[in-house]
Every structure is written in structure tokens, then in C-alpha cells.
Subunit: 136 residues, 4 copies
DNA sequence: GTGGTCTAGACCACA
DNA sequence: GTGGTCTAGACCACT
């Protein structure tokens, strides 16, 4: 499970984690029936408290995205709520809008932003190569 | 003063406001010596509590970005702290990184994202024409 | 807010509290728009941790029964979810069934149980007179 | 052995099972010396994990209610602990109190509750006729 | 003052 | 081992 927390973002980390799990469900990175890391595992991996993860799993369970089986583990629900996944994809639009709005105030244009975007993609790709197998 | 609050973003609204004021100072949208809207005005405009605006102005004053003149109003400081501008542009980098990271999980590539960015720019431009001169 | 916790019941106290609030919404004991006791107040009153109350309010908010206004307070939602209130009333049937099942194994009949029920009602009434105004 | 589990009740299922066995011992539904179903049988019958039953039997053995004969089975103890029976009946009182308390908040009176109780008794009786001799 | 997030740690229930 | 409840307490955000 690739989740990255950005403590400087101002967004509560429970929410960051929840959104990334939602995104990965929407994109098919994790499929219905897949087992998620255990509360303790993920907590350790992200260096946060167990309760933090627990609450994320709880919320997503209420949303119908996950399924918690007592004493067994946490799984992606068999039938993901329709429409919610669509909403998820729309969210990206919203975030792009937000970015563009801010960037424009700084006097940057679409082309400059796109350049930044491409750079970021390249760096991300490079970063992931380095990690490769070692981590897991 | 063009400030837009997104309560659904999860970022504290005081932080959203502060960041947008910083951005506009850095970009020159508001210049040293300019007078900012009064606490009451801005609070009403954004439909938030006056104390929320008050604390934003306080914080930015401590940073050296604003100047509060007792009985008069709040102004952009005459000498903006060095490095503000650079810091501001760096922030955009950070946000681009965040976006790219999330978008990537959804299976989108750099080109798709750029297309979205350009669309957003165009829509923003169109939207601003409609408004014409701001009501401030 | 009259809520009584029974630690010996084996039911998590968060759930006990939540059920009693639901019941009071269903019965009209508290009406839409009413303000609930603050998290801290109720926590103190019931001698439980603040987080415990917080989680109860959170869950009921997700259910659409309550509304939390940041920095202001927690209120009964204006439009209580229809059907949920009906479900609430049905719950009493379920509990009666449970009781009867157990009682029957003990060899008691309907009449004996009814006698107990009436006694309990009388004692409850007596107990509430004693309290009367002093508490609030 | 007639045991019914209600997973939605919030009471731990191990406790539900234990209480029902205690009740049946107290009421004479099972007598001293009677053999209880094996751990495996009961686990299968109730569709719970064997360990769950195991722990219930363990607990009740410690209480002196049951006796586990290695390699043979689990039996109701020859000499039931004194006071068990009384304690059992007291428990019913407790549950009646709980019910009455909740029901009262809903604005129901003693008579309405008694009517429900009688209905439940009749339905229970009807249900048990259909089953006839238990499959054990 | 209000609600909200997070941590640390104890202890319980289920497989 | 898994998930789940509860406590205690720090600190943040909003009215």
C-alpha cells in the first residue's frame, strides 16, 4: 500500500490517508476483496498511531468502501458503492482548479504550470525506481 | 481582494486565507502600502467569523507581511520580507508534487493532467470576464 | 439529557449512549434543532472520557441524526432521516423478544414477567420523583 | 441446546452464550450430570469459531457450573454453586429494568409494554411448535 | 467557550 | 495474530 503523508499540508492525516485509499480503490490499484494492511502494520509503516488508522478504516467502512472482519482483517468491500467512485475521479478536477487558481495569481501561465507538472512526473518516476523491491 | 474558501478541502480556513494573501503579496497583486479590506468587511465577504480574519491578519503581521495601524486599518508592509517571493513559488512546486502523486495513482499521465490544467485556465479566464470589475 | 449507562450490561458504552439519544430523537423527547449538551458537559455528567462522547456524536452525525457546528455546539438535525425513526421504534420489539426468550427458559410465564414490568415502572417513577428539580 | 445469538445486540457473543447456558442450568432445562454438546458441535451449530465456545466452557468451568472431563466431554456440574439460581433471577430483574427505562423514554406505559410481552410469548410458543423435537 | 485531531497505552473480543 | 473500546491528555480550529 503506497500512501504518503504530508504533515505540512494542513490537511488532517486521517483525511489524507482516507483519500489515498479511496483513490486507490477508484483506480483499481486495490480491487474488491483485497486485504488491506492490518491496523498495526499500516500504523507502523506510516509512523502514526494505531487509533489514527483505526478511525480511517472505520470511516471508510461506514462509507461502504471497506469491510472489517473481526479477528481477521480489513478488506475492500465486494461491491464498491457506485457513483462514489465517479465522485472520486471528479475530485481531481477540483484539485486542479484549486491549483490553477493560486498559480494564476502568481502570474504564471498554463505553459509554465505544465512544465512543472512534467518535471514532477519525471521526478516521481525516478524516485520510485530507486525504491523498487527493497522496501517490500 | 480575490479570496476563495473551500470548506471541503480539509485545510483550515484560516490557513487558506493566509496563504492566498501571501500569494497575492508575492505576486504583486497587492503592493506594499496597499490597504487591505477591514476585518469586518473581509469576514462578511467570506462569510466567516471576524475572529477568524483577525487571527489571520495577526499572524501575517508577525510574519512581517502586513502592518496594522491602530485606528486606521491593515496595510501591506512597505518592505516585504526577503525570500517571501521565492518561498511562495516553492510552495507551488510542493502543491504540484502533491497533485501529481495523487493523479498518478489514478493511472493518469502527465499529458492528461496538462490537458486538465489548460482547461482549468481557460475556464478561469472565462469566469473572470463575466464578473468584470470586482465589487471592491 | 437523561442518559443512564449500565457498565455491567456488556454493551459498549458508546453504543448505549448512542441508542438512548436515538430513542429520545424518535420519541420526540428532543426535537429537531434542539441543542445537545456539549461534549465536555455530557462527558462529565456521565463520567466518561470526552472522546467517548465525541465518537458518539460523530457516528450519529454520519447517520444524519445530529449536526455538529464547529465552535458552536451539537444540534439535532433539522430533518431527521425518515424510516430510521421507525426502525428505532421497532427495536423495542426486538428487545422484548430477547427478554421473553430468556425469561421463558427460566420457567417464568407472561404474567410473572408483566408483574415485574409493572414493578419496574413504579420504581422508576418513584426514583424520578426523588431527583426532581435538584439535578438541573 | 437452544441457544440463539444476536450479533446485532452489541453484547459479546461469548457472553451471550455463557448467559444462556447459565440460565438453562438455573432453570433446570439442563440438569446436573447432563452432557453438553461438544465444542465442535456447538461451534458449528452457532456458526462461530471453536475457540469462542472453548472459552465459554472454560469460563463456566471456573465458575463451577460445568465440569470438563478430559477425553470425554463437558458436563453440568453435579453440585451447582449455591446462589446461582437466585443470581439468575436477579439478572432478569436487571434486564427488565433496562427495558422499562428505555421504553419509557419512548412514551410507552406499563400496559403497552405488557401487551408486547404477551404477544412475544405467544409468538415464541407458536414458533416452537413448528420446530417440534430439536435436532439434538 | 465550542468541536476536532492526534498520541500513548491498557485491556477486551474474535479467528 | 486480527479488529475494537476506552482513557488521559496535549494541542488545534472556530464562535
Amino acid at each position: 500500500m503506497f500512501i504518503r503523508i504530508d504533515p505540512s499540508s494542513g490537511m488532517p492525516i486521517t483525511r489524507q490517508i482516507a483519500e489515498q485509499i479511496r483513490t486507490q480503490c477508484a483506480s483499481g490499484a486495490v480491487a474488491p476483496g483485497d486485504r488491506l494492511p492490518s491496523v498495526r502494520q499500516l500504523a507502523q509503516e506510516l509512523a502514526v498511531n494505531q487509533n489514527t488508522i483505526l478511525r480511517v478504516y472505520e470511516r471508510l467502512t461506514v462509507e461502504g468502501l471497506l469491510e472489517r472482519r473481526h479477528g481477521d482483517g480489513t478488506y475492500v468491500a465486494d461491491h464498491l458503492p457506485v457513483g462514489q467512485m465517479k465522485a472520486q475521479r471528479l475530485l481531481v478536477r477540483t484539485e486542479v482548479d484549486r491549483l490553477v487558481q493560486r498559480v494564476q495569481t502568481l502570474g504564471l501561465g498554463a505553459d509554465e504550470l505544465c512544465k512543472l507538472v512534467k518535471q514532477a512526473f519525471e521526478e516521481l518516476a525516478a524516485g520510485q525506481k530507486q525504491k523498487g523491491a527493497p522496501h517490500e
